[in-house]
């Protein structure tokens, strides 16, 4: 358990000891533990963990790190609490662990899953769940039919108890092992995972009903098959989503290949657009779209000949016209990407000016789409503050003064005010400016890839031990 903090070690041992105490009654001789059912369910858990381990080496594992919650809940419904505790243990101990310390993570997974299953089973028994499942449980058929509307009550309560305890224990490990502040540790996961747990509870209830019916365990497993497929598909969804973001970034980097001056510019304009969106009260998908608009605003530079983009010194009028075509090229490139929607208008119109003297269409005032007015301000701000090979960047206050001077004629004053407020609130610091190249801009103090990697690295590590 090298590199595990002492508090975390104590916490893990406490959880494991608690789970062990819960399991004790099953191990006493003469307890009548249904060992066949325990063995079968534990073997299934093990199989699902191993499947997650082998399915995609190096790739994302299924939701829940291979632990298959409907199966665990079915065990909680079918077995007495002390026996149910044992079901997740072999799987969790053999399961996939992506980072060291391996032993500590395995013990932790086994202990907290076992405790959660035990608690769920206890709630289920307390509300009279086992009798409501009907059947006999020995596979011989007969027995009473399931008491269906009522059986939902203990099953739902047990699923909620399972989810709550899991979230509470997860929060504890985040605090002790990952040093996440206590107020963050319990906020996200607890509220988000209750819906899925109730759904898993429904599937587990039908699994348990069929398991105890005359059709036996085989038919029960068929209930879990669609659930397993859907959790696998869900993991695939997350992989594709990540790949998609990377592709957007690649589109931007393709611009960087051609135009050395703009390195990191697109990402920073995306960040500034996002800040303005926050101040304007945009949320969810619109804020995300605005960020994409900022990131992709210069993608049309791909259409401008590299010789012109890399030219030192002033451009001829002809060359200037070629550069001014880039919003239209950009619009053309992203035309096929359905989800960008409003962002496409921003890419086309981000060089329009409020007084109508911009390009490509010379729109004025409210004719310019809202997203384009935001991106125009963000673009100008970053162009002024970033250092390019031919000049140093201006300090932030000077850039803000310049923006305020041009508000009304070139920029929408509302967007400029929003940016100023956002800068007051969040600052324009090193962590927000992503520099994608190895050539460091000299002018901006504290801007560096080292800070950047630690910031994003910490965010990626946060799920920590629980996965």
């Amino acid at each position: 358990m090298r590199r595990t903090p002492g508090a975390a070690r104590a916490y893990i041992l406490c959880t494991a000891a608690g789970a062990g105490l819960l399991a004790l009654p099953a191990l006493v001789p003469g307890a009548g533990t249904p060992w066949n059912t325990v063995a079968l369910l534990a073997a299934l858990c093990l199989a699902s963990e191993l499947a997650a381990r082998w399915s995609r080496p190096g790739g994302a594992v299924a939701a829940g790190g291979g632990a298959f919650f409907p199966l665990l809940l079915a065990a909680a419904f079918l077995l007495p609490p002390a026996a149910a505790v044992l079901v997740p243990v072999p799987g969790a101990l053999a399961g996939v662990v992506d980072r060291p310390p391996v032993t500590a993570r395995r013990v932790w997974r086994a202990a907290h899953l076992a405790a959660a299953v035990g608690a769920a089973s206890w709630v289920h028994v307390a509300l009279g769940g086992p009798a409501a499942l009907g059947g006999t449980g020995d596979g011989a058929g007969g027995g009473p039919p399931p008491d269906l509307p009522y059986a939902l009550v203990p099953a739902g309560a047990a699923a909620l108890a399972f989810g709550l305890l899991l979230a509470a224990l997860d929060g504890g490990i985040l605090v002790t092992a990952e040093r996440v502040a206590a107020r963050h540790a319990w906020r996200g996961p607890a509220t988000r995972s209750m819906g899925p747990h109730v759904v898993h509870g429904c599937a587990a209830l039908m699994t348990a009903v069929l398991w105890r019916s005359s059709y036996g365990p085989l038919s029960a497993l068929v209930v879990l098959l669609p659930m397993y497929i859907s959790s696998w598909v869900f993991a695939q969804y997350h992989r594709q989503h990540a790949a998609h973001r990377a592709t957007i970034r690649a589109l931007v980097q393709a611009v960087d290949i051609k135009d050395g001056y703009t390195r990191g510019h697109s990402e920073r304009v995306g960040r500034a657009s996002e800040l303005i969106a926050g101040e304007l009260g945009m949320e969810g998908e619109r804020a995300e779209a605005l960020r994409f608009a900022g990131v992709l605003h210069d993608v049309g530079k791909l259409g401008v000949p590299t010789r012109i983009l890399r030219k030192e010194g002033p451009l001829t009028p002809q060359e200037r016209r070629a550069v001014e075509l880039h919003p239209e090229y950009g619009h053309e490139i992203v035309r096929g990407i359905g989800f960008l929607d409003e962002a496409r208008a921003a890419i086309l119109h981000h060089h329009e000016r409020l007084d109508g003297s911009g390009y490509p269409y010379g729109l004025a005032g409210d004719e310019i789409p809202e997203f384009a007015r935001v991106v125009a301000v963000a673009d100008a701000f970053d162009a002024m503050t970033s250092t390019r090979s031919y000049r140093r960047g201006r300090p932030v206050p000077a850039a803000v003064r310049e923006l305020e001077r041009c508000a009304g004629s070139q920029f929408d004053p509302r967007m400029v005010r929003a940016l100023v407020r956002a800068l007051d609130r969040h600052g324009w610091s090193a962590a927000t400016t992503t520099v994608t190249s190895d050539e460091q801009p000299a002018g901006l103090p504290g801007q560096g890839t080292a800070d950047d990697t630690t910031a994003t690295g910490a965010a990626a590590d946060r799920p920590g031990l629980t996965r």
Partner: protein, 416 residues
């Protein structure tokens, strides 16, 4: 696009058979009255709701309404409910499924976009197949005698559903409008059974067994997790589509930058996947092939001056390989499967050192370059490729390309 002889007749026959079957079943049901109206209503509602979920499905999605399919199959395989035997026969199953399909189509028709008649016909025939296999056996008491009411019965249902899936795959291959031989079409359909097909079959069996044990209450309890399955499939399909669009945009950037001729990437991708299918590449490898084909010229963005006409096939070999390596470097940053980057990097190597996908892209890219260059067009280009089969182009791939082109003959590639 011209259709060859058999594929025109087959979809019409499938539609006709489904229509005749539905009309006969309806007449029979009206004549004899509806048995167990509660069950008919509950399953009808389930199927209708499931079919309504076609809303917002993407074109070409494998099974746009998995819940509807599973509900219909479950009704076909329902022999008992809450321990009591049911007496609805094959005609009533077909009637309920057809009626639910019609009902679910109403909102679509109101919007002016009717459901694909082929899909409706396919669903009706597949369900009729399952019901015809199961209901007579159960009603005459043979199935309970052979399989009892235990695990064997569950196994029997699963086998029946497997057969139904096969039947559905055959129907799917018959109703595909593409002018392709039946064999590869059927192979594609069978491969597609893996993911959502399995989920639909398992769900159908579960709903039938669940209702047999617990009565109609099993329907809502099972619907909740099934909706989750449907949502996750839909979200996955959505993000896949977006991802494909973004890749295509990235691919088009070389065209807009003036490095490659208009539509080149798209044409090479389309033709490469057709050749890949012809050579029997499985689904995931086809996706790798498609992405690599879309992005095969992306390395040219690093060039200060464009290659004349963007035709890399006529450049010296060393230059071709340099551009390929530059392209691989860009693709590695896109987050696609590394296999795609490997294919892009190796696209200019001699064919004996290449993976199959890179061989295909090399041949198709050269074909498209040569087509654009010469007025002689397709024939001349193929002739050039055949001359290069000693080192650069694999003979088998060139012949597969010739086969694909021959089938698409009326619209030569260079002008499409």
């Amino acid at each position: 696009m011209t259709r060859l002889g058999p594929p025109v007749a087959a979809p019409l026959a499938v539609r006709g058979a489904a229509l005749a079957l539905a009309v006969l079943a309806l007449a029979h049901t009206v004549w004899h009255g509806v048995r167990e109206p509660g069950h008919a209503l509950a399953f009808g509602a389930l199927i209708t709701v499931g079919e309504l979920a076609r809303w917002g499905s993407l074109p070409g999605e494998r099974e746009p309404a998995p819940l509807g399919a599973a509900g219909a199959l479950a009704y076909a395989l329902l022999g008992r409910s809450g321990g009591e035997a049911t007496t609805h026969g094959v005609p009533q199953v077909i009637t309920v499924v057809a009626a639910a399909q019609l009902l679910a189509a109403v909102p679509h028709l109101a919007r002016g976009s009717g459901p694909d008649p082929d899909l409706v016909a396919r669903r009706i025939l597949a369900v009729a197949f399952a019901a015809a296999c199961f209901q007579p056996l159960y009603a005459t008491g043979r199935s309970p005698r052979w399989f009892g009411e235990g695990p064997c019965f569950a196994l029997f249902l699963l086998v029946l559903l497997g057969l139904t899936a096969l039947c559905d795959a055959v129907l799917g291959a018959l109703t595909t409008p593409a002018p392709r031989p039946f064999g590869p079409l059927l192979r594609d359909e069978l491969r597609a059974l893996g993911g959502i097909g399995t989920a639909v079959c398992a769900t159908g069996a579960v709903v039938a067994l669940g209702v047999a044990v617990a009565g109609l209450w099993a329907l809502p309890v099972l619907c909740v997790p099934l909706l989750l399955t449907q949502v996750s499939f839909r979200r996955y399909a959505g993000v896949r589509a977006t991802y494909r669009q973004t890749i295509a945009s990235l691919a088009r950037s070389t065209e807009i930058a003036g490095y490659t001729p208009h539509g080149h990437a798209r044409r090479v991708a389309r033709l490469s996947t057709a050749v890949g299918r012809e050579l029997g590449l499985p689904g995931p490898e086809l996706t790798v092939l498609e992405y690599a084909a879309l992005m095969h010229d992306i390395g040219q963005l690093s060039l200060v001056d464009p290659v004349p006409c963007g035709a890399t096939a006529t450049l010296p070999a060393a230059e071709q390989r340099r551009i390929a390596l530059l392209g691989g470097a860009v693709v590695r940053r896109t987050g696609v499967d590394t296999a795609v980057a490997v294919v892009v990097e190796q696209q200019a190597d001699p064919y004996r050192e290449q993976p199959l996908a890179a061989r295909i892209i090399r041949v198709v890219n050269a074909y498209d370059d040569l087509c654009g260059e010469h007025a002689g067009g397709a024939l001349h280009a193929l002739e050039q490729l055949r001359l290069g089969t000693g080192r650069d182009y694999q003979p088998r791939v060139v012949e597969a390309l010739a086969g694909v082109l021959a089938r698409e003959a009326p619209s030569p590639l260079g002008t499409s």
